[in-house]
């Protein structure tokens, strides 16, 4: 049959490449990603990079100012605190804790919220009614207050901080994922999957979930930013780790007491928190823009 002759298989456009190019062409993605990478490297290589033990006290070395001051000491780039601990080393280990909490909390919140959001959006009916009500009730509580109460109940420690953030912020994921799942469910590819006999759970996890993934990456990044702030707040009010542990929030809280003699004790960790949170937000927003055409297709 002449008309059914073979159609050319190529040349095919390389859409994958163009997606990468679109990401790299977005300044917020590049800038946010670069700053995040910087902190990630600092955190991962903290044991190698830190010039001193972050918790070692030396009362002979109190209040050394940062390198740009004239009273600076060599070997203490960012100076020392009231107990003679090296600030740079503490900031590096602080990055480790901040990023660990951010990733773990965002993953936990994302897992819980995504599973419930997918089920609510896809199954609809009473499942959706129950989950949606739960989200509404949940969101009626003020978040920071709730997290403080939770940590107070569970006891201080990193695990409580992570659980507290997850327990509070799963609703963010749930609402967005539910709406997106409902939109995906209307797509023709879902109808085709039904007409070839694929089961509902196969369709939900193997067909719809991959299409929700770009959105999840965006939510995850933004949630990491939130987690960094919440962890800092909880450390600040002394609900995270024992205070000799170098979290940024603890450093800010400690530094506040000596803000007149040694303002760098407070300013440096604040700058770290701000830089990391801004980077995560920029990355998240940039990813949202860059992935949007893909997600809408």
């Amino acid at each position: 049959m002449a008309e059914a002759a073979a159609v050319p298989g190529g040349p095919l456009p390389h859409a994958r490449e163009s997606a990468v190019r679109r990401l790299l062409g977005n300044p917020r993605v590049v800038l946010g990603g670069a700053v995040l990478l910087f902190f990630a490297l600092a955190a991962v290589f903290a044991p190698l990079l830190a010039p001193h033990d972050p918790v070692e006290q030396d009362l002979m070395l109190q209040y050394i100012p940062p390198a740009w001051s004239d009273r600076a000491e060599p070997g203490y780039l960012f100076g020392t605190d009231n107990l003679g601990r090296d600030i740079l080393s503490r900031l590096l280990y602080g990055a480790q804790i901040a990023l660990f909490v951010a990733v773990a909390a965002a993953a936990a919140a994302g897992l819980l919220g995504t599973v419930l959001g997918l089920l609510a959006g896809y199954l609809g009916g009473w499942v959706d009614a129950v989950i949606s009500r739960l989200v509404e009730v949940w969101m009626a509580f003020p978040a920071v207050l709730l997290s403080i109460v939770l940590v107070a109940v569970m006891g201080t420690g990193l695990h409580s901080v992570i659980i507290a953030i997850a327990v509070i912020d799963w609703t963010r994921f749930c609402r967005v994922v539910r709406a997106e799942t409902m939109a995906q469910k209307q797509q023709d590819y879902v109808a085709s999957a039904v007409t070839v006999g694929l089961g509902r759970m196969h369709i939900l996890w193997r067909e719809i979930l991959p299409n929700v993934l770009p959105l999840l990456i965006v939510l995850f990044t933004l949630e990491m930013g939130i987690a960094v702030i919440v962890e800092a707040i909880l450390s600040y009010v002394n609900l995270s780790l024992a205070s000799d542990f170098p979290t940024w929030g603890t450093m800010i809280a400690d530094g506040r007491k000596y803000v007149n003699q040694a303002p760098w004790l407070m300013i440096l960790p604040i700058l770290c928190v701000i830089a990391l949170v801004l980077a995560l937000n920029a990355l998240g927003d940039g990813l949202k823009d860059a992935l949007d055409p893909v997600m809408r297709k």
């Binding site: 008309e3 159609v7 298989g9 590819y189 109808a191 070839v196 006999g197 196969h202 067909e207 991959p210």
Partner: protein, 310 residues
């Protein structure tokens, strides 16, 4: 019940699909809006059956009822759909799923949106094979490759690894045709499978569907609004308007000597290869108005829900 008594052991020459006196309405807030009115049609094994009519005639809805994917507001208010002698009008989801793919298949209207944008072509074909034929990964991949060859896709190994957005509309429709035929269903509903494509690609895809059907022997319900396509493609044809069957029979007979005024009007509105100089006449408004009145009169009639003979 006016349906012919068919027991599960259907004779081989009985229809593979038999729609009998089907009534369907969309449930609204106050009332039900009738969409299908006493529709009957039979499709024999290996038959390509055309379903023609203007937009809104209910062609897609018939296809959806057969596949069991009508919207939840669409209620079958009478009649039945039998497949291989078995009543499938109200099949529970599990049994319906077992029928899909192996018994019934679909070639969708819009190839651009009917493949999963997040999955590779190979995986999407393999999923169906593994589900219904219990193939392992390697066997499914090998079979997917064969299927892509069957639908004349060049460099099938490369296409297997592609994502849908990397393929043209015609290529995607070929992939969807491969998926529809993958598990050798007995009946495939093809709902305007070429309207979303370029004119040049339309002819190729049409030819491909015919070729695959001839090889495989599946029956096809071919939905279109183009009698010209029906004349080239279908063995028999049902003419639909306002959810009513106006005329049905052998394609040759109907194309050469249409009985119903509407079929005649549709013929006059269809470009013909044999008479390219003809001026095309749109379907007269007076005729459409008359048909709409007839449909309403039918709804108001004494036996709207009881399955009456036309």
């Amino acid at each position: 019940m006016t349906a012919p008594q068919i027991t599960p052991g259907t004779p081989p020459d009985g229809p593979i699909l038999s729609v009998r006196n089907l009534h369907l309405a969309i449930a609204g807030r106050r009332r039900r809006t009738p969409i299908l009115r006493n529709v009957s049609l039979d499709i024999a094994p290996g038959e390509v059956h055309g379903l023609v009519g203007e937009s809104g005639a209910g062609k897609t809805m018939i296809g959806k009822v057969i596949l069991g994917i009508q919207p939840s507001r669409a209620v079958v208010t009478g009649g039945s759909v039998r497949f291989g002698g078995r009543d499938i009008t109200h099949l529970p989801e599990r049994e319906r799923r077992r029928l899909m793919g192996r018994g019934l298949g679909l070639i969708p209207q819009d190839p651009m949106t009917s493949l999963n944008p997040a999955g590779r072509i190979g995986g999407q074909i393999a999923d169906v094979l593994r589900l219904h034929l219990g193939m392992d990964r390697a066997a499914a991949r090998a079979r997917a490759l064969e299927l892509l060859n069957d639908v004349h896709i060049r460099e099938p190994e490369r296409v297997l690894r592609r994502y849908p957005h990397e393929l043209s509309g015609g290529m995607r429709q070929r992939v969807l045709i491969a998926i529809a035929f993958a598990c050798r269903p007995k009946l495939i509903v093809a709902d305007e499978p070429t309207t979303a494509l370029d004119v040049t690609v339309q002819r190729q895809v049409l030819a491909l569907i015919k070729e695959m059907q001839a090889q495989d022997g599946a029956s096809i319900l071919f939905v279109t609004h183009d009698l010209g396509v029906v004349a080239k493609t279908c063995d028999r044809v049902t003419v639909l308007h306002g959810g009513r069957v106006l005329e049905a029979g052998d394609t040759r007979a109907i194309v050469e000597a249409p009985q119903h005024d509407y079929t005649k009007a549709l013929m006059a509105a269809t470009p013909r290869h044999d008479r390219p100089g003809d001026l095309l006449q749109p379907v007269p408004e007076a005729l459409t108005a008359r048909l709409n009145e007839e449909a309403l009169a039918y709804d108001a009639g004494p036996d709207t829900t009881s399955a009456s003979h036309a």
